[in-house]
Symmetry: C2
Subunit: 217 residues, 2 copies
């Protein structure tokens, strides 16, 4: 089993039994999600900004919409924490104290750098798009040079990585199991609704099949 | 209209037309979500940790599970950025470049402090629980003194706050509208599945009605 070697910065401090360093499990979480929260500092003030990402091997590509506040630091790389969280269920225990949430989260530390190589940038953009809708990149009108310049992509090597996972039923205190209170898990997950075509679409264009959004099916 | 006055730290830098400072709109986003990402520094390294929260007036209570790495700094308060993000849809444009996401996010800056007052702490815990399942607090076995001590709650005043919202269809370049490519919005939202009672529940206990999770209905 290949693992991300924990260090003092990535060792899970609270509830270490929930810690996961296995690369296969970490990759599966990253490949299921699409939204990350990027943390970085501007003049010692932490900022946390949501943006899109996609994994490619041991690299995480982060959509540059997160970058505007950190632009000035980008030429020398920027220290970040990127976190991806999937929520799987509400865990209702008999005691208020043992209520919890089933979730899978990945925390990644390191130095994010701007992708400057043109081919790598196009490849990353293709991956972003196809990560949401498989095959979409080839359908869409391809980016012009100007559009490429207007988009920034960051890359973070997956080195300092830890995951945390909670699954299963509530764990109540032994004496509470006899209480006449419903306890269990209410599963939650992202679902997809009926596509809303834009007003100017030609009637000749085939409707969008949401089953292409494979993460929801 | 009451607003959060933007300053240099909270002024939305990128795509300012998406900025929202209106308190009513910010509150609505916070009240719909339940998961936040808390950013803070440990030795200049930013960390971003997911945890639960609930709003009470102009205060945000943050569940202390985020706190273990910052415990040492908690007695003097800790500089944080707390971000809440709701994703509403994938926006598919005719051009790869104009693909986007409909979302609502709130970014809150400030100093989070540990809640030490016993009544305020119990009130915050009650709010956390009822924020997920209305009325749940009164059904559950109440916390003991020991359980109260084992739970930490942070409070952040809502002062430096901004939101960012994207809604509506894709905005393509004028010349792209004629392309025979599907374009529009695929709505996504959190959905709830069938409750899974825990193995040791008494058959006399009434089944859980998921319609109580009002945010999903």
């Amino acid at each position: 089993m290949a693992i991300y070697q924990p260090n003092a910065r990535t060792q899970v401090a609270r509830l270490p039994k929930r810690a996961v360093y296995d690369k296969t499990q970490v990759h599966a979480i990253l490949d299921e999600g699409f939204l990350c929260h990027v943390g970085f500092n501007v003049e010692q003030q932490p900022y946390v900004i949501p943006t899109g990402y996609v994994r490619a091997g041991e690299k995480l590509y982060i959509h540059g919409s997160a970058a505007s506040r950190m632009m000035r630091q980008l030429d020398r790389g920027i220290q970040v924490c990127v976190t991806v969280t999937l929520v799987d269920g509400f865990v209702l225990a008999r005691s208020a104290f043992h209520h919890s949430v089933n979730y899978r989260s990945v925390v990644m530390l390191g130095t994010a750098r701007l992708v400057v190589d043109r081919d790598e940038k196009i490849d990353a953009l293709r991956r972003f798009t196809n990560h949401i809708v498989p095959g979409r990149w080839d359908e869409a009108r391809q980016p012009t040079d100007q559009e490429l310049k207007a988009t920034s992509v960051l890359v973070l090597p997956l080195e300092e990585v830890s995951a945390k996972v909670r699954t299963g039923p509530p764990i109540d205190d032994e004496e509470d199991y006899a209480l006449p209170i419903w306890a269990g898990v209410v599963p939650i997950r992202m679902g997809v609704g009926d596509p809303v075509p834009d007003d100017r679409i030609s009637p000749a264009v085939e409707a969008f099949d949401t089953r292409r959004l494979t993460r929801f099916f």
